[in-house]
Amino acid sequence: MAATHSFPQLPLFDLRLEPQDLEAVAETLRSGWLTLGPRTAEFEQAFAAHLGARHAIALSSCTAALHLAYLAAGVGPGDEVIVPSFTFAATAAAALYCGATPVFAEISSRERPSLDPAAVERLITPRTKAVCVVHYAGYAGQADVLKELCDANGIALIEDVAHAPSATLAGRKLGTWGLAGAFSFFSNKVLSVGEGGLLCTDSDEVAAFVRSRRSHAMTSGTWDRHTGRTDTYDVTGLGFNYRLDEPRAALLLSRLQRLEAEITRRRELTVRYRALLAEIERIIVPFDDADVPSSSCYVIPIMLEEDGRQAEVSDRLRERGIQTSIFYPAIHRFTAYRERFPDVSLPVTELASRTELTLPFYPHMSHDDQDRVATTLAEAVAR
């Protein structure tokens, strides 16, 4: 990204594509076939194999994947979906799309800011249809414990794997623990393509449902008709246009080849970052060094020990050319959610969202830049 006056000198993320990525897109464009076709099918197979999942279905976004995952779990009007509030709004919004109510559950701690299974258990009611665990920042939430809890209660576990395309828990890829996993290929993500998403599942039934609903519940696609397989189609229910297209599938397929190598680099840099950050007083660095090898290391979150200093520290860093973000403002505190769910109180989530800052991070970040972020942060916090 060219540096201009108004741009941060150290951006939150910085995407670099390789010549072979560009070539893959150029070749697809020149082929003249742009809608769901052979490249999407090839990417889906490659991603399913990568995960060790039976099915991978490419979609227009992770929001779309969450929507279809909830629908596939049978979520409908009057139902409840238990979600964390310490996540992007889509995790909860997708429940509202289904006419259901998102029920916000507490996270374990600022050191381990993922869904607390004990809190989830307390919120299960006869109307609960699903629980969505978010693997925050690329680190595994307690999908194993939650899976048992969900099974015992006859409800579906959905995994929001937007941050964690190659992370594992007990050697098993995240996204494959629950009924379905929802991935994001948004431009700041570990595997990015612009806008895009994917749903993985081991269930043939869920896969068939998701394939149908991503393209208007039509019984055949444009490609099927082009290849002469079918002549016409039926519409069997209320579907959507949640399709990815071929240029994006080609870009994903090309980038998938380097995913593991890039994540390895992210892990090395994360270990180094963590060592630098460990020296800084009055901040909490979530997770442990031991978690890094199984994480996709999407972002570097820190929490300020003291409440009430987030804006000041963020401003200070921005003045020094360092962009930060908040992963995440608590969903239940947003205007749209306060209006609908005024009585939610989640003290740990609220404190985390008031004290979190996400630091610049990307696979080609230099050691000097890491040092600069750490030094500047230490100064800003010490003031």
Binding site: P8, V25, E195, H226, Q323, S325, T335
Partner: protein, 379 residues
């Protein structure tokens, strides 16, 4: 991949288009930013609408148009029964009920304003006027009808970018409160998956912009440029964003859109000339409609459904790809949506039509090939 002698559609992506996408990818900025803004401005200028907001698909455009118009549970939206299914799905997404109305018939596939009038009830909030196959609906009459009954007029321009509503040069997407367009890969202006909402109303445009990106009070681009990292979520929005590579592709292709439409129209005229006197083939639409249409598809009419089905089989066996659109109420997912007296215009149009190959790059030799096979099929 099957080898059609003449496929239904064909897209020619120029090297300039490819370069525009590669430049964007090289920049490393892929989510809504300067290219999307530039594309939106160019689209607004082209359509002649004060505001154009790009979205992820034509379906998303219709969905957000319904939301922006304030349509919700308990409302009815009048939708022609002869259209692509998304026209009727959109009201359902927002909890409203699509009320199917009839189209003029096989000669004119578009919504019949008189039948639309008959479907108006106290619960009706909007009419979705589809400009089917690129041919403009009777949009000025529908405008009057909507004004008379205080209804919102939503133009479904998914197949009709660049079509004219009259002889003044005014384009579709400027008459309704909202226009919904598609940039799907078969469309006149295609990028793969994509769409747009047009409107003259600043407040509606703002609402569509907000809802396409989770109703966030600031965007990734704003924050990248140094704005405050804090944001609010002020409504229940969606991820219906277009991305920068698609905006770059669309921008590059927009410059050749008029030329593409003119080529399509020339092909349609060549077809019509060659088919006018062929017994067993009837032409849909009249010369005035051909002049105003932006020609997404070229439909011809056969005597009845069995004849049409046999005709399509014949063409397929001879390497000519064709398609047809079923009427919505014949889908299993839309049974029960038709009025008890039926929708004869939509049924006749659906049963009798067959869309022949049409693209901006078709040459006269291909037209002649198709015509020859058509003649033999009806002989």
């Amino acid at each position: 991949m099957s080898e059609w002698r003449v496929p239904l559609t064909d897209i020619a992506i120029s090297e300039q288009d490819v370069q525009a996408v590669l430049d964007c990818l090289e920049s490393g900025w892929l989510t809504m930013g300067p290219r999307t803004q530039a594309f939106e401005q160019a689209l607004a200028d082209y359509v002649g609408a004060p505001h154009a907001v790009t979205v992820s698909s034509g379906t998303a455009a219709l969905h957000l148009a319904c939301l922006a118009a304030g349509i919700g549970p308990g409302d009815e939206v009048i939708v022609p029964a002869f259209t692509f299914v998304a026209s009727a799905s959109a009201p359902r997404y927002v909890g409203a009920e699509p009320v199917l109305c009839d189209v003029r018939g096989p000669q004119n596939f578009n919504i019949d304003p008189e039948d639309a009038r008959r479907r108006i009830t106290p619960r009706t909030r909007a009419i979705v006027a589809v400009h089917f196959c690129g041919y403009p609906a009777e949009i000025l009459a529908l405008r009057e009808l909507c004004d008379e009954h205080r209804l919102v007029l939503i133009e479904d321009c998914a197949q009709a970018i660049g079509a004219h509503v009259d002889d003044s040069g005014r384009r579709v997407g400027t008459v309704g409160e909202l226009g919904a367009f598609s940039f799907f890969s078969k469309k006149q202006l295609c990028v793969g998956e994509g769409g747009m909402v047009t409107t003259a109303d600043e407040a509606l445009a703002e609402r569509v912009r907000l809802l396409r990106s989770h109703a966030l009070s600031s965007s990734t681009w704003d924050r990248h440029r140094g704005h405050d990292p804090a944001y609010d979520v002020v409504d229940i929005g969606f991820n219906f964003r277009l991305d920068e590579p698609r905006a770059a592709l669309g921008m590059s292709r927009l410059g050749r859109l008029e030329e593409g439409i003119a080529a399509r129209r020339a092909t349609v005229r060549a077809y019509r000339e060659r088919l006018a006197e062929v017994p067993g083939i009837e032409l849909a639409f009249d010369e005035a409609a051909v002049e105003r249409s932006s020609h997404f598809a070229f439909p011809v009419l056969l005597k009845d459904r069995p004849t049409r089905d046999r005709f399509r089989e014949d063409l397929k066996e001879n390497g000519i790809q064709t398609t047809w659109y079923p009427a919505l109420h014949t889908f299993s997912g839309y049974r029960g949506y038709a009025p008890p007296e039926g929708l004869p215009g939509a049924m006749a149009a659906a049963d009798r039509h067959c869309a022949l190959p049409l693209s901006a790059t078709m040459d006269m030799a291909e037209v002649d090939t198709v015509v020859e096979v058509v003649r033999a099929a009806v002989a």
